[in-house]
Amino acid sequence: MEILLGAISSGLLLGMVIALVALGLTIIFGVMDIVNFAHGEFLMLGMYTGLLTAQFTGVDPLFTLPVAAVVGFLLGILCYSGFVKFLLRGPVVAQLLGTFGLMLFLRNLALLIFGSEDRALHHGILVGRSFDVGMGIIIPATKLAAALLSVLSFVGVWLLMNRTKVGKALAATALNGQGARYMGIPTERMNNLAWGVGGATVTVAGALIVNFWSVNPFVGILFTMIAFAVVALGGFGSVPGAFFAGLVVGLIMEIPGLWDFLTYLTDSEWMGQFPMTSLKYMWIYAAYFVIMVVRPRGLFGWKQ
């Protein structure tokens, strides 16, 4: 029971961070119907930003978030107005491959600049601390802070999307770009904004994740796929959907740990032989596949 509670709590915490990773993807997809393969690479750059700022200035990694947000915002706008804008005129295949090229570009640029070794943070107020809540729930401080900030970001983005004029303009652009243009909404600026906000949220997520996850230039693709799964699960373009789907995916990622525990508990032969830990990410892809087949709109989606 305690193990189960512990697994659920750590799954939920991880899920909140994963939801923040996927938030940027769902904003970008919702507003302009383009799948961004380079999303994980944005995250990777966010991780490096957080890490390097903390190392060079000596401030706590938690306070590097504004730097990461600014970098992400500029990166998003740069990618949109310098490259993605031209992709939108082309067919679907050009969009998919184009953002894939962007991903390859950013990844190898990072490889060229930062080198291929793993880097991790070893200092900071939160690194290595944890709270013991009891009932088997142990919460690492880094993850707790990350989860809380993720919730804050979600509330912020939700308010931006639903309670402000800019958010209405974004929604209008998403629903019908041409119609929005006739109404005097500067759709081009809205697209830029969507990429900026999308980039900022994901780099913030990266700067949070680097507190408990080591970074190398190849870390992106895993998060890209997880983010795709989250976005598909929650519905392309849906902000609350991304949050709940993130929680679900976080729980899915805790299955292997539970499996090991059950194996130990029941001492069964076949369970021990089943390579659950290596299949950790397969369940996410499988869940994604099933969701796509059963309900292509996702749980909260409004785009078909």
């Binding site: 383009i34 295949v93 050009a94 969009q95 570009f105 990844r107 796929m225 299949l279 994604y288």
Partner: protein, 335 residues
């Protein structure tokens, strides 16, 4: 008979194209007889393999407009079927290749049936997901060697072994894959003029119109997907015998799927020569960039940066590929 005549009928291309194509075909046949380095030979074999992958992708992705980014899973199925059958039961290549194609087609039905209800991005990402699931399964499945992969030990056989396709010299592999290449071109030439080919182009242009004309859209897509799959799986089997050492990472990774799609798009998706042109540019470029730049100290990744820039430029400014440029120029001349 009619089908065979159609396959050999290239008369709708301008004469200049046919002259170039004929000259190239002649060059391909005599190339191994001229002096060449083993590196050039390996690049040529890679070129043929990827142009056949691209041809497969082109049926569904080019003519049909359904962007499939999971082709690598069929490379894997073909390669693993051939290797496992050869290692465990000593079944020769020419028997295991059709079996592998059968497995691939079966798997393509299983995933194609639900997937073809999706469109555009959704379909593309879903194919990636299936590919990754399959790769993860192969990485833990002990029967196929898990993440270590499987190796064919050439010592056990007497090269040259034409039945099992085990050779010492690359020249034999070259002619085998060249044969596949020509068969592929002829098949596609028939395919684009077949009933299914016309149905597909109609689906690509407007699915609702296609449906109202009485085309069974779902079934046409599934059939074409199976054809594309068979192409890819065939070369996957060849890949196993050629490389002799296969792992999930280098037969089924996302990079290969993307490379296949990229090749067809760079050359010009939905045209007969597109995948060949694309492979003819990208494969040598990739090999030589790696050879020249990748090995230089301190410049890790710069070859891939250049390669990524090419992808980005092509997809942003000329998504119809090189064949699209050629046709644009021609149309302007005619005016």
């Amino acid at each position: 008979m009619e089908a065979i005549r159609n396959a050999f009928d290239f008369s709708d291309f301008p004469r200049i194209d046919l002259v170039i194509a004929g000259a190239l075909a002649l060059f391909f046949v005599v190339f191994p007889l001229s002096p060449h380095s083993s590196f050039t030979m390996a690049t040529m074999i890679q070129f043929f393999m990827f142009s056949i992958y691209g041809m497969g992708w082109n049926t569904i992705g080019g003519y049909g407009g359904q962007v499939d980014l999971g082709k690598a899973q069929y490379v894997g199925i073909g390669a693993y079927t051939t290797t496992v059958m050869l290692i465990r039961w000593d079944i020769p290549f020419w028997l295991s290749m059709p079996v592998g194609m059968g497995f691939s087609v079966l798997w393509s039905f299983i995933i194609g049936y639900p997937l073809f209800r999706l469109k555009g991005h959704y379909f593309a990402i879903a194919t990636i997901a299936t590919s990754l699931v399959l790769k993860d399964i192969f990485e833990v499945w002990n029967f196929v060697g898990a993440a270590r992969g499987l190796g064919i030990s050439p010592i056990k056989y007497q090269p040259p072994d034409f039945l099992r396709l085990i050779f010492k010299e690359d020249i034999y592999y070259y002619y085998v894959i060249l044969g596949f290449f020509f068969i592929g071109i002829l098949y596609l030439n028939w395919f684009r003029k077949s009933r299914l080919g016309f149905q597909l182009r109609c689906i690509k242009d407007n699915e609702d119109v296609a449906r109202s004309l009485g085309i069974n859209v779902h079934w046409a897509k599934i059939k074409t997907y199976a054809i594309a799959t068979a192409f890819v799986s065939m070369v996957g089997s060849f890949h196993a015998c050629y490389v002799k050492n296969i792992e999930p990472e280098d037969t089924m990774s996302l990079d290969i799927s993307i490379l296949i799609a990229l090749m067809a798009m760079l050359g010009g998706a939905g045209s007969l020569w597109g995948p060949v042109i694309g492979a003819g540019i990208l494969i040598p470029l990739k090999s030589y960039l790696k050879e020249w730049l990748g090995a230089a100290a301190g410049l890790v990744g710069i070859d891939l940066i250049l390669y990524a820039v090419i992808i980005m430029l092509i997809s942003a400014f000329e998504p119809r590929g090189i064949w699209g440029i050629v046709q644009k120029v021609r149309r302007r001349k005619r005016r």
